[in-house]
Symmetry: D3
Subunit: 243 residues, 6 copies
């Protein structure tokens, strides 16, 4: 496990992580999350009321939308608004972030309120969906605090049952590595995104063999790396929320 990484990191090392809260003035929660050169603006917007299918249920709703600025990447991508439809990759990631957040939300405690978390990638260098989940949780926490201040949530209720973070892992030249940057990501034979709670349990695992199929031993090594990485990210989240 001593392969040189493009940026000199160790195989089990995260890129520098920053979580800047209150980056924007308007949203109830807003966090600029950076995993190395990857920058994602996560904003949490609170509205009273819920989608039709939940009305009268006493339950709230949390959902997420992911998108990239057209020149967040090395080559400019056409805007999905101009193309007139949201692409498959965008929808997949939006759904993933939403599921990850809902895994730690007690919708009953939220009351009939909706929180939409927008994750807009301002600059991409691999791991945008995992950075988005990690930042979105912090923005969500801030939005919940705001709701509590506004008495939208009863004092006795706690809508967040835990925390979530996410990280990518992959196998490059046979070596399992944590938190791939773009250059590593395109070279990876296997690519996996793992979402964990702070206590090290799994919320979501998505692993894909980009090249040769992978065996159980490789899978185990990747899961070990990922749970370690998520543990570190959970510390970053705690530190940011306490600051």
């Amino acid at each position: 496990m001593s392969a040189a990484r493009v940026d000199g990191r160790k195989a089990d090392q995260l890129r520098p992580v920053t979580l800047t809260r209150k980056w924007s003035i308007h949203p109830e929660g807003s966090v600029l999350v950076e995993f190395g050169q990857t920058k994602v603006l996560c904003t949490a917007s609170v509205t009273e009321g819920v989608p039709r299918w939940l009305r009268g249920s006493g339950k709230g709703w949390v959902t997420a939308e992911y998108a990239m600025l057209p020149r967040a990447t090395n080559t400019r991508g056409d805007r999905e608004s101009v193309k007139g439809k949201v692409g498959g990759r965008t929808q997949e990631i939006s759904r993933l972030i939403g599921r990850a957040l809902r895994a730690v939300v007690d919708t009953k405690a939220l009351g009939e309120n909706t929180i939409v978390v927008d994750c807009d990638v301002l600059q991409a260098d691999g791991g945008t969906r995992t950075a988005a989940i990690t930042g979105a949780y912090v923005a969500l926490q801030d939005a919940v605090t705001w709701m509590r201040d506004k008495k939208l949530i009863k004092a006795s209720k706690e809508p967040l049952t835990g925390s979530v973070s996410a990280v990518s892992v992959g196998i490059i030249d046979g070596v399992p590595m944590l938190d791939l940057c773009y250059e590593e990501d395109v070279r990876a034979e296997t690519d996996m995104n793992v979402v964990c709670t702070a206590d090290g349990k799994f919320v979501e695992i998505q692993g894909t063999a980009e090249g040769a199929p992978f065996d159980r031993a490789e899978l185990d090594a990747l899961l070990d790396l990922a749970t370690g990485g998520c543990k570190d990210l959970a510390s970053h989240q705690v530190k940011a929320l306490l600051s």
Copy 2:
């Protein structure tokens, strides 16, 4: 692991599997796959030429499209053609099937030809995406044989480097179970789809905690069930292709 299942199966038992080849007269490959009450029509369509970004590369292309008839399910769903857009779930599954098939395709050996595999769910009872992948591989194999007969593939080339099948696993009332039907699927705390090659390696793993997050021991039990299930499915595929 002795929980009674709704249809009396054992926890590690597949539903009855049938793979009916040549179900349709027009496609180069066509298979009606049934996992219990789930029925998916998989058709493989061959066209000469490749999408623009592969022209001149000497490589072929394999892609997939998944869809459901409006009344394949218990409640009628609006047609995506009428809504004017393909939903997120549909796109996700189409992409998954395409990746799964490409994991066993040598696009160089395919030459500049395209195979589109359409997986249309005629009747749904859980596991439509895993049935689709399992049937799609057989349709793909038939299409490749057709191409060989038509001399679209050189005799010395073998475009398929292995076989793939897929199965769902989940945890219900704390018990890991194989190949969930719809009634089980909605009750599962954790839901995982696993795509394997015939030699038991992983092509794709997608696991989601629907309720409480799952731990490593649960994950391991699910992976054991899934690899066993895929091994059985690989036998079904071989038997169908030899018949």
Copy 3:
């Protein structure tokens, strides 16, 4: 009238007709209709309530949607969901099927309930719209029976005032012929679709000169063939519903 047909039929002979009821487990009515190699799955879905413009009128609504699987035909067609819009031909046929069914529906007797009949072409070999109408009527009848069992329709009411079936006719090399298969259809100078009630009256006539315009004598010959064909189809419908 002795021209040899591609499949050896006589000019006034239908292809083999089968109407398989209860083909699917979920819909209130479901029929797989086959006119030779043409296979259409017709499912009737019942929902309580009606579209906005009928609310409070005491009247029900029956409508239809027609579609083709992408590889139902000899060459794969792009999905309308992927293209983002329903094509003109598809809309035309959906509207035709809906009108044909409503011609034998007493919406007042139906009460404020809606029946959507989906006609999905699984395999096409000419006459898909006429097969669809013929099968759709049987599925509709089964759905009405289901509603009666569920007490959604009052015992004293009869929402179906008759039966409808449809058949294509055309002139090939100057000879009028009944129930064209695809190979005949593309060669026809004139192509007509006729929808009749069981007592031989016309619900809809759509005739088009594909080549030279046709005269009154030719039209009369085509109408004779069509009414004869619909009479045969009405017998098939009765037999299927009694089985």
Copy 4:
């Protein structure tokens, strides 16, 4: 056949017909056609070249698009551009007009040129599609003359093999009537649109039972009325083209 009509016409009488050529300055052919209060602007636009599927065939192409201004009718209809899609009725009529015109076009004689005939309903009072076909033929004729002047068509070639016109017929209170205005149209039990060539042959017949199904005798009466009406319209067309 002596029923009083809302405007005092006889059952077999057309409304006043006017065909105003050169209504617009830009198009190669432009005709404002009026059937009573129904006003349709028909413009024929010539472009060199043909759609992709005809390139190199030596054949030309004629197509049509029909639309209504939002307030052409008694109640304002939403614009299809704003709704983002062309409705089924609009597509059906556009396709009908295109087929009607192509029935009298020798595409080989046209050379690789395209004529698009736009039929925009400025004011509607029933029979907009039949007025459109009748006017479109005249605009098409003017466009062909323009092409001949510009040497886009060889002197020895005649792209138009005949003329077409169209009229609606219907049964109201049991009486077959010609050229229905809107008030009659909504009351009609049976409604039929007939497209004929100048020599009285049929190009298209579309008849629908709006109320009770119709029998062969009623159909015959309607066809008689329609062929008479189209004969009159053909005279109007000749007169307009000679003026």
Copy 5:
């Protein structure tokens, strides 16, 4: 200021203006406005009720939609309905017309009613948006009169607080000119559209340097021309409304 214009007009002279009221039978107000060869049909449609965001406010709403027939121009343009979206230019002009009309509307006096003014360009020769505004005001006035007759507006209320008209101005070969026709418009270095009230105040100014930027003196000259032109147009409007 003596440059010869293509049609012999003086620099500060409008093209012939006609405002034909009651051009259509269905709308509550309908005006065919002509600025030389430019012809726009403006229809005002009244409906009771207002958009959701105004319900209960006691205020009415006036909005406008602008569009061009496909062959209103020298070259045929694709229909926006067929393209599936409204273009930027169309939206811009629709919004402009709506703002111009609302500038003279007292929505409180209108009550909770909506007037949609459709401006459809039948023939274009420059200045379509300014002709549209000028005609739309007259159609709006007629619709308001209709509402008053129908008692939809209280006798004591006056929903129109003034009149608006609009004209284009531009600099061609250094000379400021009024009311550009198409041929002048494409040659203009600077192009400006000005909307004024009858008392010579500005409602909207939109000026664009097509070639070199323009200075304050040029701007002043253009504004002088425009206010003069709008004064003339206001007289045409008064005359039309009194006729």
Copy 6:
């Protein structure tokens, strides 16, 4: 002209302006522009080649796209990608920015290359379009410099013929004011956006009476303010480009 402004500025004073170049790592030019709390990320993307209608002309192309993040404003707006179409306001502003930039571009000197400038509003507090134009010019300048370094532009050519900046002005409680923030913007009776070159000439003027129409004297006062503001902005641009 001594009215107190919400942030204590003088009537003719800009908000604090910052232009941060190289804000992103990927684009050829990237500038974060801030007008007070308004923050717009402007990125310029260079691609070789031009749109179809310019191929072979030897000319380049510069265009712009404007958009807002969903929570850039006080209330979350739905994404245009999700709505499936670009709104009228967005299109209008995109077109305005494009025209403003092209006013100082010599497309011949650019050669057959395209520059797309994306202006994404990260945070909105009034004046987003004017900030966007001001920042876009600087990003464009950086992209041109990059092209020169890459030899995409010949040494002897200068594609930029000047600089542009833009500012809003408005009348609030009768007082003309420069560079309105959101709170002022909603209260303004008249709202105008002015685009100027560095030498004080006009590229675009868009003025709208939101309340009462404005007279010539008010217009003159607004134009004076705007030209002064643009002069200041031009200095900021020069300073940023020299830093």
